[in-house]
């Protein structure tokens, strides 16, 4: 265990256990089916789940994606129908139509409530069908929004091979990253390059990031002589990384605590607990932490960070001294707040659906340190916030920017409060040095826009009596 064990003490944690809004965790299929190209995601739930996916995914619905609903009907709920038989029928059709390398069953609130034994059914059907079936309980009873990914990756972590299956040569083939990096080059060059890497224990990174970001972070570590042995998830299910006991692992996102636990407890790996590589500060801290674990000198990282900060100056001028309020949605809140405070903002409140203080330990400590260094008050961290109460606080504090879910953005804007959708950060390419601009492009957009509109005098767009 390399989890930071200094719990930050000064931060103020609250848990409102309120009525708050965030997307259902099944929405993780939206990005996972794209990421894992040979997969098929089957969401086993009600019309309510299906209609949500349809509305949340918009145009993706029309693009013949590799996911679908297994819509539970009255007969399924009342257990008049045989679950195994029904799922078999659907999966056979999926096999016929798409022939995926893996079918991921996404359990929902309903399968929890009717106690459908997906984990029990899967092995038999998998054997009968000849296609691996991975079961993930991405239900809204236990998880919020992005944690859906966590349940899927935790389930997949258990399917990663333990040993290189055949010859070493084929191992190279299995690993899509090394394949990419070596592609088209002669074997000698490849071998020569291997020597560019320092000698260190194997490192596997987990978290679903867009392909270009995967390449960028892999290259970033390569510059330091660190080789990434694999990513979970891989681009293809058939290329899941080898994970052996004693491997080091590092999580890319703050919402992957269950995956981290699975990798540590079930696969006996060592977790590198670091701040997340979000923002130049986070990226540097993450790289340095990995270097420190591997006893490698993080050459040039501080300079990289400084240079990136320099290039962000135009954006920083827009946000410096302004305040940002997180209503809480995707569990990226702590990392984003830490980065924005480093950018010169203040942050009165960070709402967050769920807070794993151990898994996010290094990030919380970094937040605290950042606040100190920037000389700003520590934010209050509110777990499971009550949206109604938050709105009262927002109307009172009048922050310069509120990062919020989709339900509250328009009403806040109509009342003169500037907002940014939290969901955009979920889908943005924002990890690593190179993408810091993209985060600030998103953060500053509403500020730039509302600044442009300010002269027009349309700030309040609700009548006084409706002004809440």
């Amino acid at each position: 265990m390399t989890l930071a064990d200094t719990q930050p003490s000064a931060l103020n944690f609250e848990c409102e256990t309120g009525n708050y809004h965030t997307f259902c965790p099944i929405s993780c299929v939206a990005w996972l089916y794209q990421k894992i190209e040979d997969s098929f995601f089957l969401v086993i739930g009600t019309k309510t789940c299906g209609y949500f996916l349809q509305n949340a995914m918009g145009v993706m619905i029309f693009a013949e994606p590799r996911y679908a609903m297994a819509e539970l009907e009255e007969g399924d709920i009342s257990a008049q129908l045989n679950d195994y038989g029904e799922l078999k029928r659907l999966c056979e059709q999926i096999k016929r139509d798409r022939n995926p390398s893996v079918i991921v069953w996404i359990g929902t609130c309903t399968t929890e409530i009717i106690k459908m034994d997906l984990e029990g059914l899967a092995p038999n059907l998998e054997a009968e069908l000849g296609i691996p079936i991975v079961v993930a309980r991405a239900n809204g009873l236990d998880y919020a929004f992005t944690q859906g990914e966590d349940t899927v990756l935790a389930a997949m972590a258990q399917r990663c091979p333990t040993k290189t299956p055949v010859a070493e040569a084929e191992k190279e083939e299995r690993n899509s990253i090394s394949k990419l990096l070596n592609f088209g080059r002669k074997k000698e060059d490849v071998l020569a390059e291997q020597s560019e890497y320092k000698d260190h224990p194997p490192l596997v990174l987990f978290g679903s990031l867009p392909d270009p970001v995967v390449t960028q972070l892999t290259l970033e570590l390569k510059k330091l002589g660190i080789k990434v042995s694999g990513w979970l998830p891989s681009k293809r299910y058939t290329e899941l990384p080898v994970i052996e006991e004693g491997y080091y692992v590092s999580g890319m996102n703050p919402f992957l605590s269950r995956t981290a636990t699975t990798l540590m407890r079930r696969r006996k790996t060592k977790l590198i607990g670091a701040p997340f590589p979000i923002g130049p500060d986070g990226t540097r801290a993450w790289l340095e932490k990995i270097c420190s674990v591997f006893n490698i000198e993080p050459t040039g990282v501080a300079e990289r960070e400084a240079k990136i900060w320099e290039s962000l100056e135009d954006y920083l001028q827009i946000i410096r001294g302004k305040s940002v309020f997180f209503m809480g949605d995707n569990l990226l809140e702590i990392s984003l707040a830490r980065f924005l405070i480093r950018c010169g903002m203040t942050c009165p409140e960070i709402g967050i659906p769920y807070m794993d203080k151990r898994y996010q330990g290094a990030e919380l400590a970094f937040l605290e340190k950042t606040c100190e260094e920037m000389g700003v008050p520590l934010p209050t961290i509110v777990e499971k916030p009550d949206n109604y109460n938050q709105l009262q606080r927002i109307h009172e504090i009048k922050p310069d920017l509120v990062i919020t879910g989709m339900a509250h953005a328009n009403p806040l804007e109509a009342r003169g409060i500037t907002t940014k959708w939290s969901v955009e950060f979920t889908f943005a390419q924002m990890h690593g040095f190179g993408n810091a601009r993209d985060i600030l492009e998103l953060v500053t957009r509403p500020l730039r826009r509302n600044d442009a509109l300010k002269g027009l005098g349309w700030e309040k767009l609700v009548r006084e009596e409706a002004n809440h």
Binding site: H21, A70, E71, L141, V462
Partner: protein, 508 residues
């Protein structure tokens, strides 16, 4: 279980919430797990609603499941009653929480004790009814509740309004072009000298429901929502109902004639024929369009129609009867009301298709190869794939169905808008075909030359692989910027590393 990629109608609780949140000062409590409350997002984002959606999720999580929901639900109702002072709080479960088979009626009764406003459980079976049916039922339930309450209290008004008057029933939030239809119908009633007694549920107060019986008749423009309410009012208060959808020139006239019959039967003496004639021939442009040369060119062209009952039936009749277009297939996803649809359209099309399975309609369209489709967003995308133009005429709603500009489907202005939709669908298709015939829009060198920088730079295979991960619409720009970056630094081969170094430096 049903393998579903797309559904035409939403789940029942969406219907209930559409009714509840249409009313002024009514709040809904959803008894549901986290994530089931996306109704608030739909209303805020699709309809660009400025106000907070008056729906609060009483979140069901693992703890609540273990301890039971009653306390939490009752607390949330009472709290909302205190915070917002709504006239009515409607409690609804979702598909998920309805399985728990809790005595939600009892929760409401408990909450009523400590609430100033009314508290009501929406009484819908979440596995038997869809969004539209649930909306119809919930509206009926609320109207009946307030009329019976008024009757008990002796607050029901006596008699009718002095001038002929109407209740317009079925206008809701998140309805397909409902807001503009509503404006158009109000204008039409004003033109006919008919007072609008109430419009429900959109923007109505539940306190005004008791005034409904004062109207001379009820107008139910949509087949999906309002029929149950109108039936109830007819049964209990002997109020006649006009249920002809005033869409298209012919049916708008039929609707007006029915209104005339209904109010003359109650002692008025109106003659709307001159109004109908003037509107048809000279104010609206639709009848003239039908006779014009542009429309002559559409004669016999082939179309497929699919949507909800109201819009699919109306469009089928307009296409066939008013524009001489050959409707190969007319379909609806309102399976529960199939007989009505079949009766409405079977004289006007070759084939009727009743189905909720979008693969079935997609296959039918592919086989029939119509010149245009009139359907939902789903059919629009089927058309895109098959290169057949599609006009969107029905829900599931989409942000495009909440235009800012005035675009009613009903009444005389609606008939103009529909002609535009139909004509543009066919002609845009025609334009593409003509361009094909004349060899148009092949990218000519004259233009592409200016688009690609001349370069003797090499791209490595990994560089190209990364470049190809970038979406096409920015790829050109990234390519140019990267090449400029490489040239400036005398880099001969562009690898993935160079690409990302350029991105960092140039910031694209």
């Amino acid at each position: 279980m049903k393998l579903a990629y797309w559904m035409y109608a939403g789940p029942a609780h969406i219907g209930t919430l559409r009714i509840a949140s249409s009313f002024k000062n009514v709040h809904a409590i959803m008894h549901a797990p986290l994530g089931d409350d996306y109704f608030n997002v739909m209303r805020s984002m699709l309809e660009r609603e400025r106000n907070y959606t008056p729906v609060t999720a009483s979140v069901v999580d693992r703890n609540v499941l273990a301890r039971g929901s009653q306390e939490k639900v009752v607390d949330n109702i009472v709290r909302k009653d205190r915070e917002e002072h709504p006239d009515l709080i409607v409690l609804t479960p979702t598909c998920t929480s309805s399985i728990l088979q809790e005595d939600l009626k009892n929760f409401c009764d408990r909450a009523q004790i400590d609430s100033k406003g009314d508290v009501m459980l929406a009484d819908v079976n979440h596995y038997r009814y869809n969004e539209l049916q649930a909306a119809d039922r919930s509206l009926h339930q609320i109207v009946q509740f307030y009329l019976e309450k008024a009757r008990k209290k002796g607050e029901l008004p006596e008699g009718k309004t002095e001038k002929p008057s109407v209740n317009i029933i079925g206008m809701t939030t998140l309805g397909f072009h409902n807001n503009h239809d509503c404006t158009e119908l109000k204008r039409l009633m004003a033109d006919l000298g008919i007072e609008v007694n109430t419009v429900i549920p959109e923007d109505a107060s539940v306190n005004d429901l008791k005034l409904m019986p004062r109207a001379w008749f009820n107008l139910v423009p949509y087949r999906e929502i309002g029929v149950m309410t109108a039936d109830y009012l007819e049964r209990e208060f002997a109020m006649p109902c006009v249920d002809i959808t005033p869409m298209g020139i012919v049916d708008t006239a039929r609707c007006i004639r029915k209104i005339q019959a209904v109010i003359n039967a109650q002692g008025a003496t109106v003659d709307y024929e001159p109004f109908i004639d003037e509107q048809t021939r000279f104010v609206s442009q639709a009848a003239w369009f039908s006779r014009s040369i542009d429309c002559q060119n559409l004669t016999g062209k082939k179309a497929v129609v699919f949507g909800d009952n109201t819009h699919a039936a109306a469009l089928t009749k307009i296409l066939s009867r008013e524009m001489g277009i050959h409707v190969l297939l007319a379909g609806t996803y309102c399976k529960y009301d199939a007989e009505w649809f079949t009766n409405e359209v079977s004289d006007y099309c070759d084939r009727v298709l009743i189905s909720e399975d979008n693969a079935e309609i997609a296959d039918a369209i592919a086989q029939l190869e119509p010149a245009a489709i009139f359907g939902t967003q789903m059919e629009r995308h089927i058309g895109k794939r098959l290169n057949i133009p599609c006009g969107v005429i029905a829900a599931p709603i989409h942000i495009q169905n909440f235009p800012l500009g005035y675009k009613p489907f009903m009444g005389y202005e609606g008939s103009n808008q529909l002609v535009d939709l139909i004509y543009n669908s066919f002609t845009l298709g025609m334009e593409d075909h003509l361009l094909e015939i004349f060899g148009g829009h092949d990218t000519k060198e004259g233009i592409t030359k200016t688009m690609s920088a001349e370069s003797n730079l090499g791209w490595s295979r990994d560089g190209l692989a990364e470049l190809n991960k970038i979406p096409g619409f920015v790829r050109g720009k990234v390519k140019r910027n990267t090449e400029k970056f490489a040239r400036d630094r005398n880099i001969a081969e562009i690898t993935a590393e160079v690409l990302y170094a350029a991105k960092e430096a140039v910031g694209v």
